[in-house]
Amino acid sequence: METRVVGSYRFILDFSQPIYEQLVQQFRQMLAKGEIELGSKLPSVRDFAVQMKINPSTVVRTYQELERDGLCEKRRGQGTFITSSASQVSELRKEIAEGALGSFVRTLQILGVTREEAQKMIAEVDWK
Amino acid sequence: MSTFFKLVRHEMKFPASSTSFIKKLMSLITFVVFLGLTIGIVLGLENGMGNFQYFNQTFNGIMFVAFGMGMGFINKEFQKNTASWWLTLPYSRELLYRAKFLSIMIYYLYVYLYSYLIIKASIITAITYTGKWSQFSLSDVFHNDLIFFLTSFLGAMLLGTYAICIMLFTKKFKAVSIILWIPFGLIAGFMMPNFLMEMVMPAANGESISIPIHLLIGSPILTTLLYIFGVHLLKKHTNL
């Protein structure tokens, strides 16, 4: 695991996993957590690659993936920008939360925990 | 300026910072050689040997210096690990070799003229010192120089050309290159005994000399071996 910083972004790289997947994942989380300002400009592929010390094609692939999910957009001659749509981000937030909830529910089901028990557990959890 | 001459200029580049050292060394060598030659000739003239033409003959020996320099120039690229820069220049190998060859010849001509001047100056000094200008004229001093120049310098060109041919074609024309070595060996066979005899028997007085058979056979073999070694060296390095 290695921490690498690009401008205001901080990434943790694990070279035993595909790098572009990690970058996409960490971008999505930062975005959902509201750590990235809406409509802000992403670093150029070149700068990103140089500072991360990774192949530029990995960065291109990451940006393409984010673009496909509507999380960023490429503007001709200007670069790549984070989406300025708040609804897009809240959808992303919901999507990530639902994903986490899904795996949480599956784990509890395997353990034989009932819905009522689970709800009780959640109510008792220290949410801070 | 054409690429070829740029390449030659590159080959001729001498270390800027060590020029002064080379100059010092050259002047020291000049002084020693000049002194030695002069004393030698003076003693020879005093003892009544009379004939100093053998000094001129030693020029033939310089011819072999050209061969050595050629291999040296190429080997330097490998010794100093610059060969990959040299061999991957975007020009044909032939052009690269030709440029190196020309630069070797220019350098050789420089060495040649330099030794020529020293030898001639020694002879003139010796005659003046012993006061024997009555026995020699200036034309005696420069007697046959042109022929020596042609045999030794052109001879060296010839040797160099053989070397280049062999280097260029060894891979494809192995058999041909062996045939190339034979005439070269023969030329060397005739030149070398002369050269050696003159060195060994300076008092021969210009009379006909019988050439020992072992020199006649030995020298072409030796030279051929030198060549094979040189080519082997190049091939080993480039694997081409």
Partner: protein, 232 residues
Amino acid sequence: MMNAAIRFHGVGKSFKKKSVLDNISFTVPRGEVYGILGENGAGKSTMLKMMANLCLPDQGEIEVLGQKPSWELYQKIAYLSDRAKWYSDYTVGEALQYGKSFYPDFQMERAEELVEFFKLDRKLLGKEMSKGQEARLQFLLCFSRDVELMLLDEPFSGIDLITREKMIELIIESISERELTLVITTHEIDEVEGLLNRVSFVKDTKIVVEGEVEELRLKSGSLKDLYRGVYA
């Protein structure tokens, strides 16, 4: 296939009856950074020399940029040998002139920028350079050229950290800006872990693992893990 920068097909080579490479086949796609990893003496350098037309295979065929290796290729490729040294009598400034004189694709402006980038003194002589400075100059000469293919033999071995980082930066910048195929041999994985698109591991005259790096990560972990698996 036009997309292949380099193609080896059944290539074999022996030196003095000792086999160095045996039946090697692989393809380097254009525009990618290809790593040839392996321990010292595994035959990596020989593979690169073959691409650079400095060594001929005993068996098999090699294609570089769609043609058989020949000196004409030197117009399109830059090769940096692992043992290469710069001419001891040339200063940095004269080295730029050398580049301009002999490489038709030499970009003088770029070279001037790189002198600044690498913090080289224009008056520094080849023989006065440290190993790092010499590596910087040789890198500068390669990367000032507008070539399609670059072959770097153990570029990071024995080089100081700051120079290595600058070299990596220059490589990444160059491949961001134009289509350039790079083949790098190395046994130092840390430097190239994030850089390579494809990789092959050479062991005992053969390629034992070959593939796209991101896919290999999914299958068998990091290149370092793979390296350990192959050579330990």
